[in-house]
């Protein structure tokens, strides 16, 4: 989108680029220094704003349980007892983590399987009703999840008139299948953008060399789109990992709960005094894998979230 400077304009200015740069720098330097300091201060403030509450969670998790809700900014002594409590028998948090991995993993894989082919069709093929399909997928990402709950709850619990339906309460599929409804729009949208960035000539060349469209897609496009697929996978996985409402509704048994539901229910199991230390430790356990992924792949994730177009 950059405004192109035509050769004539450059000639008219009669200044070489280095001269222009020098003039510009000389004029800006006192202001620029202030600006630079201000921007560093601003950035520091942003980072502090984003990190401080999380810091508090970590600190509270590392406190000795006997200190209760101490508000000391640095835990003294540092204790990992809370983390032990998280995985103790009563809470069964390890099992919940496994459930979360199963649910999020399956949701991600299925979403990608369906999403890749759909996105490819939307990016490359021209057909009647494309606009309608896009609107359907769009609408699907817009509507409130809660509208599914009464219907699905009635269905999955085989309440009449759904007596014929198998009882799906406390099954993984009860969470995975609704999960697809918000994973798919995201995946289709992201992947369509990624496929579109790849020049169509690539497939044409492959097909000239004798590939069928299917083979051209598999051998040429898919490997090139791998970063996009990977980004989409991370984002879908994080979204599914963080999902709460559906899991809360359909996974009521402790050994089936996902991690997010388990954390929210720590309250109930230990009486009236909320075991904050344990909850925060569990929160850290649930969040740290995501944060590691975010730190490693931040560039990719940001690109995926702002999807292609802008660099």
């Amino acid at each position: 989108m950059a405004i192109a400077t035509t050769p004539q304009q450059e000639q008219q200015s009669r200044l070489s680029q280095s001269e222009v740069a020098e003039l510009a720098r000389a004029k800006q330097s006192p202001k620029a220094l202030i600006g630079m300091i201000a921007s560093y201060v601003g950035m520091a403030l942003i980072v502090i704003y984003c990190i401080i509450p999380f810091y508090w969670m970590v600190v509270s998790a590392l406190r000795d349980p006997s200190q209760g809700r101490s508000t000391a900014f640095i835990p003294n002594p540092v204790s990992v007892e809370n983390f032990g409590a998280v995985f103790s028998g009563q809470n069964g948090f390890g099992r919940s983590l496994v459930n979360s991995v199963i649910v999020s993993g399956t949701t991600t894989v299925l979403t990608l399987l369906f999403g890749i082919v759909a996105a490819y069709a939307l990016a490359r093929l021209q057909f009647k009703g494309k606009g309608a399909v896009l609107w359907i997928i769009m609408a699907c990402s817009m509507f409130p999840l809660i509208i599914l709950i009464p219907a699905l709850l009635k269905m999955f619990s085989s309440t009449p008139p759904f007596g014929w339906f198998p009882n799906w309460i406390n099954t993984y599929q009860a969470v995975i299948i609704p999960g697809l409804s918000f994973g798919l729009p995201l995946a289709v949208w992201n992947l369509t953008a990624f496929f579109k960035q790849l020049p169509v000539e690539l497939e044409q060349a492959a097909m000239v060399d004798g590939c069928t469209p299917g083979v051209a897609f598999r051998k040429v496009i898919l490997p090139l789109a791998a970063p996009g697929v990977f980004t989409t996978a991370i984002i879908v996985f994080i979204g599914s990992w963080n999902e709460f409402l559906v899991a809360l509704t359909f996974l009521t048994q402790q050994n089936r709960q996902t991690a997010t539901v388990a954390i929210s229910k720590f309250t109930g199991t230990t009486g009236f005094d909320t075991p904050y230390g344990t909850i925060m430790a569990a929160g850290v356990v649930v969040t740290v894998p995501l944060l590691v992924a975010v730190l490693f792949f931040q560039r990719r994730i940001v690109a995926g979230l702002t999807a292609g177009g802008v660099k």
Partner: protein, 361 residues
């Protein structure tokens, strides 16, 4: 339909700069192939979204039987058709509660809470997000660190952040210590409303910042240079250049934050708890009705929320011109080259990411 069909179209695309390319590499059989490829997605969407929505609509006209069946003398089961009663009861004022906005029917209380959260949160998030984006766009180095930091609130599950803020806002917690006051944030009162706002803004403002930054980076520096030459002040540059040019990105971001906040669930649920009228949103109210097996009412409230969401989305598209689909959805406005269409899809492509960002909160 391999090479033979590919060849004529190759020439069409190559020579058709400026013209509408009627066919691309896959020319014949595209229609059929497209629908085959789309079928799994569309079937999944129909099954997991379409059918439940239809069932919910049906459900909203029914009500579970209660009490004793006069014919059999047994406790009644099943449900019976009640017409629009589930909807009209909203106006009957049968279930008055006291919340942030005074005493009113529980539905309207939830409705106003939802609206209040949405307006307050989205406005604050947008302002903060734009400020963050501008700071980041001025940065020379260290942008990577800021970007990693900004993704922290995004990556934390909403329910975990709800519990985290619950601890922070505890009556003897760190927030009161820092403020030096004794506010009962979590006691289902006016302060609870603001506690939710603070937590929600924390989680999502950086995200709007991130998206706005992406929009800012597409503005060429020459535009600002030209403005400087013409003597524009910094404020003028912001209102006359930055805002209008970043508006398409921002409007879409704000739209999806709005829709996300309208269906807020996790945060009030985890932080203040269910059945707390000062922070009860429509999603929570509907959920509680469903959990109490009042499926009819639950469905009716969820449908009202759905209609509300649709209305807001419609207003955004019509009034603010939110380009939700991007150019991808409009085959009529086709560009000369394929690659252009990819850029055109950019604002639309940002959307589901946003949607996921808030999760189902």
């Amino acid at each position: 339909m391999a090479t033979a069909t590919a060849e004529p179209s190759t020439t069409t695309v190559a020579t058709s700069d400026g013209h509408k390319p009627k066919k691309n590499a896959f020319s014949d059989g595209q229609q059929r192939l497209a629908w085959i490829l789309l079928a799994p997605t569309l079937i999944v969407i129909a099954v997991v979204a379409g059918i439940p929505v239809v069932i919910s609509i049906r459900e909203s006209f029914f009500r579970a039987n209660t009490g004793v069946d006069p014919n059999t003398g047994l406790i009644a089961s099943g449900d019976s058709f009640v017409g629009l009663k589930n909807f009209t009861d909203i106006f009957a004022g049968l279930n008055d509660v006291t919340g942030t906005f005074g005493t009113m029917d529980r539905f309207w209380n939830a409705f106003l809470n939802t609206t209040g959260f949405t307006v307050v949160c989205v406005v604050l998030e947008t302002v903060l997000g734009v400020i963050m984006a501008i700071i980041m766009s001025k940065a020379f180095r260290g942008r990577g660190i800021v970007r990693a930091g900004i993704l922290v609130p995004w990556a934390i599950p909403t329910i975990v952040s709800a519990l985290m803020w619950k601890l922070i806002f505890d009556s003897s917690g760190v927030m009161n210590r820092v403020l030096g006051r004794q506010i009962l944030w979590l006691a289902d009162n006016g302060s609870s409303f603001w506690a939710i706002v603070i937590a929600d803004v924390w989680k999502t403002a950086p995200f709007i910042g991130l998206l706005t930054l992406a929009g800012l980076q597409t503005i060429p520096a020459e535009v600002y240079e030209a403005a400087k030459v013409d003597g524009a002040t910094t404020w003028q540059q912001f209102t006359r250049i930055t805002l209008p040019l970043v508006k398409p990105t921002l409007v879409v971001a704000v739209l999806f934050r709005t829709l996300d906040t309208l269906r807020m669930f996790d945060l009030p649920w985890g932080m203040i708890g269910p059945g707390k009228y000062h922070v009860e949103t429509l999603s929570i109210f509907s959920y509680q009705e469903a959990a109490a097996t009042r499926y009819g009412q639950a469905a009716a409230y969820a449908i009202v929320l759905f209609a509300y969401v649709l209305l807001i989305a419609f207003l955004f598209v019509k009034v603010l011109g939110a380009d939700v689909i991007g150019d991808t959805g409009m085959p009529k406005k086709k560009r000369g080259k394929k690659t252009d269409a990819g850029d055109g899809a950019a604002p639309g492509a940002a959307i589901p990411g946003l949607e996921m960002a808030g999760g189902a909160h």
